[in-house]
């Protein structure tokens, strides 16, 4: 009898110990969670509420319209086009950036002379403000007065105007954003590369693996969590591109650069329809969740926590 009692009380003690562990663990994440709750979740909830109403910033809360805003988004041609523009942008930018970042990281992670300077150089675009970078580039792309046109002129070439062309405006923005952000991804890759113990390479070299094989079978797999991280976050951020469009093209010409967040901004701030703008954002959120989920599945492999 006492054995059962002893066992039961032991289990109870074990449970309490377990629960206490959980509580202590929770304390670590609580400050951050509190921040996210107050400064991110509550605004998100407010935005969600706004999407159910006829809400405008100036006029305040109008009628409760439930699904009307969502239905409207579903039927809105321009919303669909803008979604497609954002997707095109992400498809162009993310692989380009990840590829360049990886190549650059392989180059700059070496400890040789001059590398420190190069690392700084590729990081400079990252640390400058996006607004001003966009301004700088819009002047560089200028058809008549731009630095690019000037440089091309040295070779006798001339571009037909990039930001005013519905074919070239979006690629031009992609190039600028890759230039701006590749340094960021590079240093993350470098931190990841530095985290791979050299003994792996030494062992492989002893086994007769060449450079390429070392790269494919050691570096790449061990970089998987980092690559996953970069791809997921860059995709999310690419789908949310806004500032370069706002500064350089204002969605034009002919909606070629009217990315979805810009359209959302227009509706919220120009067309006095924040409710509709919020509804569209939640559409995007659902889309991003799906995309992120699939990217995780695809690239995750055996990354565990």
């Amino acid at each position: 009898m006492s054995a059962v009692v002893a066992a039961r009380s032991a289990r109870r003690r074990l449970l309490t110990l377990q629960r206490r562990r959980y509580l202590v663990a929770l304390l670590f994440v609580l400050p951050a969670l509190l921040n996210f709750l107050v400064f991110r979740y509550i605004p998100m909830a407010l935005a969600a509420q706004a999407s159910l109403y006829d809400y405008s910033l100036l006029a305040g809360w109008g009628d409760f319209v439930l699904w009307k805003n969502f239905v409207r988004a579903f039927e809105d041609d321009i919303f669909r086009t803008s979604l497609w523009v954002s997707i095109k942008y992400a498809i162009g930018k993310v692989p380009l950036q990840v590829l360049f970042a990886l190549l650059l990281a392989l180059f700059v992670s070496r400890e040789v002379r001059g590398m420190g300077v190069i690392r700084t150089i590729i990081f400079i675009p990252v640390v400058t403000s996006l607004v001003v970078a966009a301004l700088l580039w819009s002047m560089m792309y200028n058809k008549d007065l731009g630095l690019l046109q000037s440089l091309l002129g040295v070779f006798g070439l001339r571009h037909p105007g990039l930001l005013s062309s519905s074919t070239w405006a979006l690629p031009a923005i992609v190039v600028m954003m890759v230039w701006k952000e590749v340094g960021f991804s590079t240093i993350i890759f470098v931190a990841g590369l530095k985290g791979i113990p050299t003994m792996f390479y030494d062992a492989a070299a002893i086994d007769g693996a060449n450079r390429l094989q070392q790269f494919l079978y050691i570096t790449l797999p061990l970089l998987k969590p980092i690559t996953l991280f970069i791809v997921v976050t860059q995709t999310i951020s690419a789908m949310q591109v806004f500032v370069p469009i706002f500064v350089m093209t204002q969605g034009g010409p002919f909606f070629a650069t009217n990315a979805v967040v810009y359209y959302i901004y227009q509706n919220g701030f120009h067309y006095n329809d924040m409710g509709y703008a919020s509804a569209m954002s939640f559409f995007i959120l659902a889309l991003l969740v799906t995309v992120a989920y699939f990217q995780f599945k695809l690239l995750k492999g055996n990354v565990e926590y």
């Binding site: 006829d54 405008s56 910033l57 100036l58 006029a59 305040g60 002047m139 792309y141 200028n142 058809k143 008549d144 007065l145 105007g161 930001l163 005013s164 062309s165 519905s166 706002f246 204002q250 969605g251 034009g252 010409p253 002919f254 227009q266 701030f269 120009h270 067309y271 006095n272 329809d273 924040m274």
Partner: protein, 497 residues
């Protein structure tokens, strides 16, 4: 096992926590007052504004005011009367908040006017928050949504109705009675200041675009733009002139509008109204319900105007598709459509060429028009100090304030007496501006749904500038329909409580 934080981390954390804990609340000083701001003694209640405004300590543009009596209504009753009790009691400090658009002009002018006001009301201080144009409206909207108690809002003319409709600004009939209003401003100016019979926001200044030209270039090309209004060009004649001086990419014939973006309704929307005879649908631009633009914006006449604008860029190529910064001032455009702030910018940039101006051209079969209206001082609906704010607004927009403002900004004043008496507008180059304003000035279409319309207009103008093989009529009709559907929600504007 002990754990130690690296020293630098401890330092950073401590510093961060200390800083975060010790942050001050909203700081006291606001206006960037130049060091020589006068410190007046307590103003006597009877002090009336002197007829000549106090000369600014800094070097202002040298327009000396007209002979004193005509410059300002001299009745002391007009002056903002300090409300303080008789000698002895010190009035409580008043702090007003003011949100407006950023530009050197506004900064100088508003600060100078405040200093003048503080001679009469030393206990009043104003915190000026001046934002870049593109961020001003979103911030006003954010403040409206959060019911932030801003006292004075510098509202763009066409937005006044929208703000009034949405209850973002408060009517000021209590402090601006009908006689005062009629005496100080022209009916054109009042079109946007008044909404549904109530007075909301007096104008800060007016505006009217004319066509400036680089005289060195026109002389060389043998062009002589007309100096008299009666001889003003048609668009056909103007186009000829533009083509004569056009030499891309070094020099373009004309830059239509300020800044270097394609444009919006203020300047790019002129041609569609010019294309219609006075009073026609194209000229009116909007229906009598002040909401519908189908049939007006996309009227065949209006489309002629849109097409002309489009052809400047794509057919005749007399304008740069991708805007050149400071084009006219850098001598990269021979002609320039802009209000008379061009003169101030010219001086500030240190440009060095001879220039002149002429009236805006008219379209054959159409009319002449310049878009008027500029910024207005509005009273925030959530303000907790309406009376004080209104008093300051009265001073800002009154004769003294308007004069100080003109001295610094050099743009068409809205104050009727000032406009009629300033010698600047009696002689070139400002004469053209004054005449154009009086004879042909019209505000942009006055509607509650202006922001929606203007947002669409920006897209439209961008497409007109960059697009090739356009069906302009179809584009215009699409815009008109979209605008009407976006403004449909305002159908009740005339009856809403």
């Amino acid at each position: 096992m002990s754990w130690k934080l690296p020293a630098w981390l401890s330092g950073v954390l401590i510093a961060a926590l200390v800083i975060a804990a010790c942050t001050p609340a909203a700081p006291p000083t606001a206006t960037a007052k130049p060091a020589e701001a006068p410190k007046p003694a307590a103003a006597a209640p009877a002090a009336a504004p002197t007829n000549t405004p106090a000369p600014a300590p800094a070097a202002a543009p040298t327009n000396t005011p007209a002979p004193a009596p005509a410059a300002a209504p001299t009745k002391p009753a007009e002056a903002p009367k300090p409300a303080e009790p008789a000698a002895g009691a010190k009035p409580a400090a008043v702090k007003l908040s003011f949100i407006g658009v950023q530009s050197d002009d506004q900064q100088f002018a508003l600060t100078a006017i405040l200093r003048e006001y503080q001679k009469l009301r030393p206990e009043v201080d104003v915190q000026f928050e001046l934002l870049p144009f593109a961020q001003l409206f979103p911030k006003i909207q954010a403040n409206a949504a959060a019911k932030t108690p801003t006292d004075i809002i510098l509202a763009d003319g066409p937005n006044v109705w929208s703000f009034a409709y949405n209850g973002v600004i408060a009517p000021m009939d209590e402090w601006f009675d009908k006689d005062y209003v009629a005496k100080n401003w022209t009916p054109t100016s009042l079109l946007t200041s008044q909404y549904r019979g109530k007075f909301f926001a007096p104008p800060q200044m007016e505006s009217c675009s004319v066509m400036w030209f680089n005289k060195d270039m026109t002389d060389k090309a043998g062009i002589k733009p007309p100096a008299e209004m009666s001889e003003s060009w048609t668009t056909t004649q103007a186009l000829e002139a533009w083509q004569k001086v056009n030499n891309p990419p070094q020099v373009y014939g004309v830059r239509w509008g300020q800044g270097n973006s394609p444009g919006q309704d203020y300047e790019a929307g002129l041609l569609r109204r010019m294309a219609g005879a006075k009073g026609s649908n194209a000229y009116k631009g909007i229906g009598d319900d002040s909401l519908t633009i189908t049939g007006y914006f996309d009227h065949p006449d209006a489309v002629k105007g849109h097409t002309f604008f489009h052809e400047l860029y794509q057919k005749h190529k007399v304008s740069a598709v991708e805007g050149i910064p400071n084009a006219w001032f850098d001598q990269r455009a021979a002609f320039y459509i802009s209000p008379d702030n061009a003169m101030g910018t010219y001086n500030r940039l240190g440009a060095k060429f001879a220039y002149g101006n002429t009236a805006l051209p008219s379209m054959p079969g159409g009319s002449q028009i310049c878009h008027t209206d500029s910024w207005h001082y509005a009273l925030g609906a959530n303000s907790a100090q309406k009376k004080e704010a209104a008093e300051f607004i009265k001073f800002l927009s009154g004769p003294v304030g308007s004069k100080i403002f003109f001295d610094r900004v050099g743009q068409l004043p809205s104050h009727a007496e000032l406009l009629n008496t300033l010698p600047d507008y009696k002689s070139a180059p400002r004469k053209t501006v004054g005449e154009m304003f009086r004879m042909h000035g019209q505000p942009r279409i006055v509607t509650v749904g202006f922001t929606e319309y203007n947002g669409l207009m920006q897209e439209f103008v961008g497409n007109l500038v960059a697009g090739q093989n356009l069906d302009v009529q179809q584009l215009a009709t699409t815009l008109a329909r979209r605008s009407d559907s976006l403004t449909a929600k305002y159908k009740d504007w005339q009856t809403k409580p």
